[in-house]
């Protein structure tokens, strides 16, 4: 969905696809709100620890409470 936020026009098409009958003026406001919201959602990546690398990926996929890392 993020790619639909790049321009107001692509956003308008996405809103139409969702069958939400927002008017033109509302679309512009909603577009700003949604971009801001998605930016905030992206900020959480750093906190939930999405780790790169095969070994780290294994740990991040384990079910259950996290074990303390390191010695």
């Amino acid at each position: 969905m993020r790619d639909r936020l790049e321009t107001l026009d692509s956003f308008r098409q996405a809103v139409a696809a969702l069958a939400l009958p927002a008017g033109d003026e509302e679309l512009a406001v909603l577009w700003r709100m949604v971009r801001d919201l998605c930016e905030q959602a992206d900020e959480l990546r750093g906190f939930t620890g999405e780790i790169a690398g095969e070994e780290a990926a294994g740990s991040s996929l384990l079910t259950g409470p996290r074990l303390p890392s390191g010695g």
């Binding site: 969702l18 009958p21 509302e26 709100m33 919201l37 998605c38 905030q40 900020e43 959480l44 906190f47």
Partner: protein
Amino acid sequence: MATGQEVAFSPISEVATRYRQRAFSPVELTRLLLDRIARLDAQLHAFITVAADQAFEDASLAERRLQQGDSSPLLGIPIVIKDSIATKGIRTTANSRTLEDWVADRDAIAVERLRSAGAVILGKTNLNEFGWSIPSADDLCPPPCNPWNPQYAAVGSSSGSGVAVAAGFATAALGTDAGGSVRLPAGQMGLVGFKATHALVSRTGVLHAGSIGDVGALARTVTDAALLLNVLAAHDPSDPDAEPRTSVDYSRNLDGNIQEIRVGVPWHYIDEVPVEAGVRTAFELALIELERLGATLVRVEIPALAYARTANFVVLNAEHYAAHEALLRTHWARYGRSARLYLAQGAFLSAVDYLRARAAGRLAREAVDAVFRDVDLLAMPTSPVVTAEAARKPDTHRRGINASFTAPFNLTGHPAFSIPCGMSAVGLPIGFQLVGRRYDESTIYRAAHAYEQATEWHTLSPPETVAAGGGE
């Protein structure tokens, strides 16, 4: 003999004593409050529906029960209900034209418990449409004004509940809180407002409580808040989040002794948030008072709080859109201009966004629990700003800055209370927040009560001339 003004602003414990002394009766108090509502609420807009006939029926029943020696804890106490909580026989609109005439066929469990305890339900109170967004002029009912200074709006979303208690229209109120919607209006209107541990109070019968919303209450004193939680706390087997607990008398141990209590203050986080100078000063003075009463202040670090605020906002957006998706498509124009945009924005969050925000919530809860191994309570301002107008500035509101101190604890599920601690330059009250370990509301009550008894903030009420003059 108490004046009508004194009676209208009396706390629950005082009203109950006067009933027993036969100084006045539930029917007399109900009449007095309905008269005040009729006289003053045209300016303040606390109510969406005033249920006068039902209130008199409740009051007459309470009067008979009193005469029979019934000692139910809320017998004859006039209470109002946020209009997103279902009430049998009184419409529940959520301040939305989409539900303008909807009447539930049963009470929410929290309302049932109030009625069983003898409460008189005066009516349903105003809110931000569906407890979300910011009010707009085309909402079903216009937004409430703050009775302390009606030039300012009352902060929400349980705005009408706060106004009703602060203006002397009711003795206590039910609200809901998914990001601060009970604690923020309580703070801004000089009341005690609480959100107990997640799901300790039943959410059955609330319009879309979602995964992190809770029923809370607003009252004039800490003792009143304890009496209310005594009635409201009950295991709801239909709620998978609810845990069976042994019952607790929250009004016990309000003895003023807080000598051994350790209060953690997350200064690094408070410093990150744009806190207004007046709010900060009031909070610092509250800390000095807690220390003078014997509490030990400890600086704590919880970096997770900033992420928890953001994650709360993401979770609420996703869940609100999911709840309203179908109705938005078919009834777009029936929603207020503000509400439909706030409800629609969650459409653009992905499943990964939502799951990541929930994961952030679990991590934040672990981080807060870890801090509670070293301290008994956390303290911080309730709101960084004083007025609803400041809270609703687009950049502040969209990033959840106004809920910086309240929202994290909806996500983590810890109990959190707002207690009056000061007065701003514009004549609106300021509150501070105490947060406790999950299911340890008693320690919050103890500390809050000791602070309340040492200060006079809870004894203040809006000048009647202001409330009566009203208007903008």
